[in-house]
Point group: C2
Chain length 150, copies 2
């Protein structure tokens, strides 16, 4: 029940792009530095996100990546599905596969995996990049870095 680094890094990279949304393209070099991820590896990860239409790229010097939609329109679930495939703890509750399970008693366990899947989806589809940015702001505020003492 682990998320691979691909999914983790992907969410962090997209979060980084969200934090700089509206400031023009962000180079992978910067993202990789800030998020402490191998730039070359991140390239592969973002390639998937680009092909899925979640980010746009601008080539050449001063180029980089920009979210294709507003941060409020991209959920963590969107990112994870691109990088990790459909959310499904086991294949028999994978909605993209249509194979049928032959075994009746298996349906009992299947019900469980469906519930697990649904609960995961409810969490990751309910959190947008905008939520994350907002949360990060809140944390910075709570830390006192941006606060005047009374």
């Amino acid at each position: 029940m682990k998320l691979s680094t691909k999914g983790q890094y992907g969410v962090r990279a997209m979060f980084d792009l969200a934090q700089h949304f509206g400031q023009g393209p962000v180079s992978l070099k910067l993202v990789a530095e800030r998020q402490d991820i191998s730039e070359h590896y991140l390239e592969q990860i973002i390639a998937g996100l680009r092909k899925a239409g979640l980010v746009n790229s601008i080539r050449g010097a001063q180029g980089g990546y920009i979210l294709s939609k507003e941060p409020s329109a991209i959920t963590v679930g969107d990112i994870i599905r691109v990088l990790e495939g459909p959310v499904a703890p086991v294949d028999c509750v994978n909605e993209e596969l249509t194979e049928r399970c032959a075994r009746a008693d298996q349906c009992i366990t299947k019900m469980i995996w469906a519930k697990v899947r649904d609960s995961i989806e409810q969490v990751i589809d309910g959190i947008t990049l905008a939520d994350m940015v907002k949360e990060a702001e809140k944390m910075r505020f709570a830390e006192g870095n941006y606060m005047y003492h009374i």
Copy 2:
């Protein structure tokens, strides 16, 4: 975000033992046949469950395995934690590790993984083997029609 076959098979095997709870030891051969799992592989899986104290074994002819507790006292979460390790989509929310993440902005993503973890735990810790047996009974009564996928 996949459960390995170990976890899947383990839950199915324990469900099988629960269905025959009170009827003496059940041999792995039977479980493996009924659940369509390699007997040899199942051996390894149940060894873990035995060492964790979830099942008791009786050696020799007519031996087999018995749940160490009532089906109502064993949850799906108990089984999965033994076979798959602690529920944690990423290590930074693994409660058995005590390493700290150095990066502040990572805490935002960490919060997400913690929510995912909690929602998974809520599901799997809330379902006992007794619940599964009961559900299976219900389905058998609602019989006649093929069991369809949820």
